[in-house]
Structures are given as C-alpha cells and as structure tokens.
Symmetry: C3
C-alpha cells in the first residue's frame, strides 16, 4: 500500500481485516519495523479517538510520533495557487506539506470539509495537494469526504463479532442532529460495505429520510430505502450516524420524527448489534437505552480503531523499505 | 494501589515517600516494568509542573505517554445523565472516558472546580464518572477538591530536608490573592499532613483569617488558628497558599493585612523552610525576599513532583500485572 | 558548547557544519548519548519547522522530548522584577524556568519580539532571564533578535550545494511583506555569514531599500547596498527575506517597487540558488516561478533544519556528561 485515503487504496480488504485482528492478538512483534521511523500526525480539526489510537498504533510498531495541531501550533495555510498571499494565510500548502515530508516517513492528516462549497469539498483539493507535495505516504485521519480508518475498524468489529452461518445484514441508518455534519463517515462506511458486499461478506442497506441521499459514487450496489423499519427488519448490524444533506449542501434540513434508534426499533431486527463512530449525542442521535444496553458495540468498535491503524501503518512501513 | 486520587488510596504513606526517595537515587531501573504500557494524560485545564513531571516520570519508567488537551484538541464533554444532547456538548463522558481507557493502561486526569456550585464541585462528579467509565487505573493530576501528587511531593520534600531529632512543626498558612482559587491544594495538603500527624511524623497547624475555614473533612486533628504569628512560632515548615472561602463559595472576600509572608514573619519560627506548590504570584501571595532567599524550598519541592509521580506510577504498574 | 543562542556560542562554525553533514549520512549512531536525557521544547509562539525538526533531531539522538506550548497549555508569565503580581500574569519566569530545568536536561525556547519597544526586544530580557533561571543548557528556537538554528541550516545548505572553486557570493535580499516582521532571521543570517566571511568561506552582501538597515552589530564586514541589481550581479546564493525597519521600529513602512525576486532579477546572477527560511508568502515576498523552479533550495534548506538541530543537540549532550 502506498497511501491510505479510501477503500480503493487497498488490494484486499479481507486481508487487511485479518491483519488487524492478528495484531490485536500480538501487538508488539513488529517494533524493529518501525524503529527510527517517524509518523507525523497533522490535525486541522479536533480529534480524540483518531489522535490517540493512531499514536498508540505507531508506538506499538516502534515508531516515533510527532503531533502537529496545525490550526493552533502552526501557521494559517493557503491552498489556492496563483494568488498573491497578501491576506491572512502565512504559508502555502506546497511548502508546508513538503517540509513535513522532510521530517516524517509517514504523515497522517485530518481536514474536515467546510460544508460551504460542495464542489470544493468533494474535490478533496486540500488533501490531494497535501499528498502531492509532501512526498511521503499519507494516512487519512478523516478528509472532507472519507474516514477510512473508521471504516476499517468497523469492518474488523463486524468480522470479530459475527457468529452467523450466512453473511450478516448490515444497515447504515441515518440519525437526527442539530448541526450540519460532514458525510465523511457515512460515505466511507458505505464505500467499504459496498466493497465487502461485492466480495460476498455482507448484505448492505442504507436507510435515510428523503433529501439525505448520499453521493452515488459511494453506494454502488447498496439497497437504499426511506423506510427505517423495512431496513431494520432482519438486520444483524445497525450503523447509526447523522449526516447532512448532500443535495442541499451545508444546510440543516428539517427531518421527520422516529429516526432516533431505540429498543423499540430493534424489535424487527435479528437482535441487531448497534454501532456508531463516536462522538455521539445521547438521546438526540441515539438513545441512551441502546448505548448503555447489550446491543451496543460502540466502545468495542472504538477500541478497534487501534488495530485498524496499526494494520495500515504496518503495511505502509513494509512498503517503505 | 488501584487508583491515586487521595491519601485514602494509599496503604502506607511512609512507604510511598521512601519509594519516591529511592527512585530519585535510581531513576531508570524499572524500564522493563513500563515497556509497552501507555499513560494517557488528560487535561481540561492548564498545567506546567504536573504535565512535565508526570510525563517525565512515565518516560523514566519506560512507558509511552500520550497527552490530550481535552479542552483544546478534543470535543466538549457532557457529564449529566438523562438529558438530550442538543446543546453545545458533543460527547458524553461515558463514551469519552471509556474510549480513552481502550488505548491507555493508566490515565491521568486534571479537572478544576468551576467554583460556582459547592455541592457539585465537592461531589467530584466529573472525576468519579471518568474513573467509573474509563475502566483503567486513574491518577489525579488535580481534581476539583484535591491535588495528591502535589501533597506527596510536599511530604517527600519535608522528609528529605528535616534533620531535627523531634518531629517538625508544619504550618499551612493562608496567603492573599486577587482571584478566587480552588481549595484543592490546601485540602490535599491538610489531608496528607493530618495523616502524617496521626502516624507521628509531624505536628500540623493551619492558620487563616476568619471566613477561610477549610471543609472539616480534610483537617481531622489539625490545630487551627486565626493568628498567624502564633502559628509561625516555633514552625519548622511554612506551606504558603491562597484559597478562596469554602463558606462563601466562589467569592473573593476582603482579607486582613499582614498575611503575605515576609522575613519579618519568620523571626518567631525555628528558621522555617518555606514551601509553595507554584505558580506563585510574587509580592502578592509571598514576598520576593522569601522566595529568593535561603528559606525557600519551592524549586526543590517542584523538582520532587517528578519522584512523587514516578513512585505512584510504579506502584500502579505493579498492580496492573 | 554550553548554550546555543547565537553564532558567538560556537567555537568553530566550520566544524559544526561538518558535524551536521556527518549526521545526515549517519543519523542514528548516537542513541546511547541521549538515552534517558530529556529535551523540553518551550513555545510561546507558533512553529512548524523548528518544532518538528528539533523534536526529530532529539529522537534521532535517543532523547525523550516534551513539548510545552506555554502560551496555550501553561500559565501567563511575568518577566518584570520587583512588582506586585496582582494583574493577569500568573507565574514569574524565575519560577517557571527553574521548574522546567528540574525536569529537562536541555531546554529549547521560542519567544518572538513584541515589536513595540526596540530596547526591550534587543535586550533579550525574556530569553536571558529564562537562561539564567532554568539552570540547564538552552537552545534558541528563535528569540526576539536571532534564529541561529535556521542560520546553521542555511550554512549547511550552502556548503552542501556549492561546487565552485572560489568562495561563493551570498546575498541577503530584502523582500516585501504586508506585516511588520521581526529581524531575527536576517540578523542571525547576517551574523553567521559575516563570521563565515571572516573565515574566508563566503563573500557576503546585503541589499535592502533605504530605511531597512539592520542593526550594525549583526553586519560587521558585510557589503551593504540599496541597489538590488548590483547585489545580485554575480551572486551564487540569494537569501530572500522580509524584515521590518529597525529604525522605525514596529512600523510597516511603504516600500519601493521591484524587490520581489523573479527569474528576471536572477539574469545578472551566476545562476544563483535561492533560499528562504519559510514560511513564505508566495508572489508577495518571492515569486512562485522562482519557488517552483530549479533555482529554489527552500525545501532542501528546511530539510537541513533537522541536521543543524541534531548537531547542536549532540554537542550540548556531550558537554553535559
């Protein structure tokens, strides 16, 4: 693997999932691989799980880690080309990325969408320029449109917990929120589940109210419905997540009643396990009864972020040498 | 030891003091103990001494350290249960703590009181919930009502420097300030000194103006006076510290003249050593002449924060395995 | 070497340059030297290159690194003596520096000038007090008037790339900007190049518009001109950098046309290489065509920050023991 920014960077998702599970059982055997290698983690936005799990994953591999909160500790970055930099930005991404590549063997980058201009966000201009100019392998710590470390951890969690004979029915279920959230997590989850479905690993359904359709590039082969109950019927896993409208980009749309998942909803399911990437707003996105009850996998799932990151970094380290 | 949040978590304070002094003389012998163990330091408030000394202590023990400035790098946390999270908080402490426990073997936490609602602060609700949900041993880096790493370092400093035949007279002396400060340091110091007094190690007196009485739970057996000169008479150690009123909680009360310690005050003492937890406001809380003179132990005392933290972490690591 | 704050701290600049180049070819051989030694990096201002390169340099040497963003994570510092601290500052530099010296074997410090009071900035009061009170060797990560790690990396870059028989002509060329920038980088570059000129390593010229004269203490022996074309004629290296007026201290002065370096300017040069310390404002300070073209050394130069820092830290570590 030369970079990790979407499911398309991976030759064999199944093999990567197995690698993550193997690392969970034997975390410290690769410390020679990372010796004297440095991971730089560049954050333009807040991070808890991603920050800590990726750092820990690198330490498990014997790497050094340097964290850079670019928004707070560094200089305001310019991304546009061909303009006179006489405003508030102090450094161009061309230089900033190239310089970070001088000191790091692998770079992780988090940069959220602005949710103002859909074209700009979906072009992944910032992310792509960073990759282009830094000159070293890049791991996405969440970009404007994707969060692949989360999706890998999600797939690991499903693999670990699924004991059924047939393949599980996985449902991505939209949830309410008060703010306009990015589509990165649902895009990425959909993209990974569609790939897993192609490989015969899962059956994948997406449920959301009208107006919350995801970009079709991320949902090839997914069953899509506006009827939550229909989606949940026979479900083995429910992945709960809010996202804002792709059509009315950046807007907070009114939404119908009944989309916050409760125990009542789960009655039609196959005793479904419930997942969420966190952070979650309790009793707005997802009911406390579900979060605190036996259906919830959310902490287990967050724990798997570590092994997902470690599998990805190990693969990238192997490609370096 | 399973956690370190107050003197009550410790079986034998004397033994812990001796352990800290032993580590000072031989800091790097336990690096196998901490190998592949991770300490997460979670700050909701500023920190200089605690941040650096605890980090260094963990590194001396061979541990990995991850620092999380929760207030700046993470998500705004909710602590109340049973409410719809449709406001400004993004993540509940139930999830945040549990997730951090997934990546760390030991967690340190700093969280100051809000000084608005005494009941709330003294319930240590935030701290207790963090401990309950994170699932790993927790070290207090200062909570709403206590700062035990400071108190342990203070006791180490007294033990190291006391050369007398009898036990020393230790005085906690209130000092002026312009702001309403927490009671955490004096509460904790009092709690530790009362315990040390019970064990025959010190004689302990508290001096403060009327209206600045500490919560009695922290001062069992202490001599308490409003007369500073009386307290300082024959004193061997004076621990200078401001705190705001426990009775008129959160208020900045007017205070009488004469409480800022000078050389003049020390004349009645037994050539007393002067201590302060730092940061200290010069010539408001404590005179420059004392801070810069031969009576002051404040830098030595701050240096001992390292060995206090290392003794505590070593004990917790031993309990892990 | 006992500290690294200016060229005057170095016995032999040539030897230090050679040491940096040797480390570039063999970065990991000194890890026993730094074992159980701790570098504290204290930032009062933003930093990208300095933060990451110095951290990585210390890790290459086997050291532990602790980063302290004093402006964000710590307490507001007082530097004046003899005043009652009843305002907004919480801790005096006397205590803060001394405490950091308790936990670290070497300290790095970044503190920019305020550009309000020239006397104050040029007294390096803050920096000198920090050095005085911390009690351990200090590396400047950029002070009010100097940035010696940058200058060492610059000299390393010239040494590595110069293939001519005679000594190279090096030009420090003033560049436009919209803000009042410190003189630290040009002061330091001038100071180092004047020293290198004395030792017969380079010919050194400074070009700037009238009104932008540097403090003469930093420019002994330099040729100084207001004519950019004259300076660039026959130049082998052009070091582009804005600085604000030393005479009209802290002001943004109007400046003449024609000082932003383009390919056109370079025609009179000896196919000059172009350097800049970064961050650079594109097409304001320096044209994109130069930055993106074959003349530019800026990324290579930034990469050398690592080896400069490592050479300095190695020397300081050797002096410790």
């Amino acid at each position: 693997m030369k970079q990790f920014t979407s499911v398309n960077d991976i030759a064999d998702i199944n093999q990567l999932v197995e690698a993550a599970i193997a690392l969970k059982n034997d975390p410290y055997s690769d410390q020679q691989l990372g010796k004297n290698k440095t991971l730089g983690l560049v954050f333009l936005n807040p991070s808890l799980r991603t920050r800590l799990s990726t750092q820990k994953a690198a330490l498990n591999l014997g790497m050094n880690v340097m964290v850079m909160n670019m928004d707070k500790e560094g200089w305001a970055l310019e991304t546009q080309d061909g303009m006179v930099m006489n405003g508030s930005t102090v450094e161009h991404i061309r230089e900033a990325a190239a310089v970070m590549g001088q000191y790091c063997d692998i770079l992780g980058l988090r940069s959220f969408p602005k949710l103002k201009d859909r074209e700009e966000d979906y072009s992944e201009d910032f992310f792509n320029k960073f990759i282009k100019y830094c000159g070293v392998p890049v791991v996405s710590l969440e970009s404007a449109t994707r969060h692949p470390l989360q999706s890998l951890a999600d797939l690991v969690t499903i693999r670990e917990t699924w004991k059924g004979a047939a393949k599980p029915k996985v449902v991505l279920a939209w949830a309410p929120h008060v703010k306009a959230l990015p589509q990165a997590v649902p895009n990425s989850f959909a993209e990974w589940m569609c790939k897993a479905q192609q490989e015969g690993l899962v059956d994948f359904t997406i449920a959301h109210p009208a107006g919350f359709e995801l970009n079709e590039d991320f949902t090839p082969g997914a069953a899509i419905t506006h009827n939550l109950e229909e989606a949940l019927t026979g479900a083995d896993y429910v992945y709960v997540k809010n996202w804002s409208s792709y059509q009315d980009y950046g807007k907070v749309l009114p939404f119908p009643e009944g989309w916050m998942l409760t125990h009542e909803h789960l009655k039609v399911s196959n005793d479904a396990k419930v997942m969420h990437c966190l952070p979650v707003r309790r009793d707005l996105e997802l009911s406390s009864e579900v979060l605190d009850g036996p259906h919830s996998l959310v902490i287990h799932e967050a724990g798997n972020r570590l092994w997902a990151a470690q599998a990805v970094l190990k693969d990238l380290l192997q490609s370096l040498s």
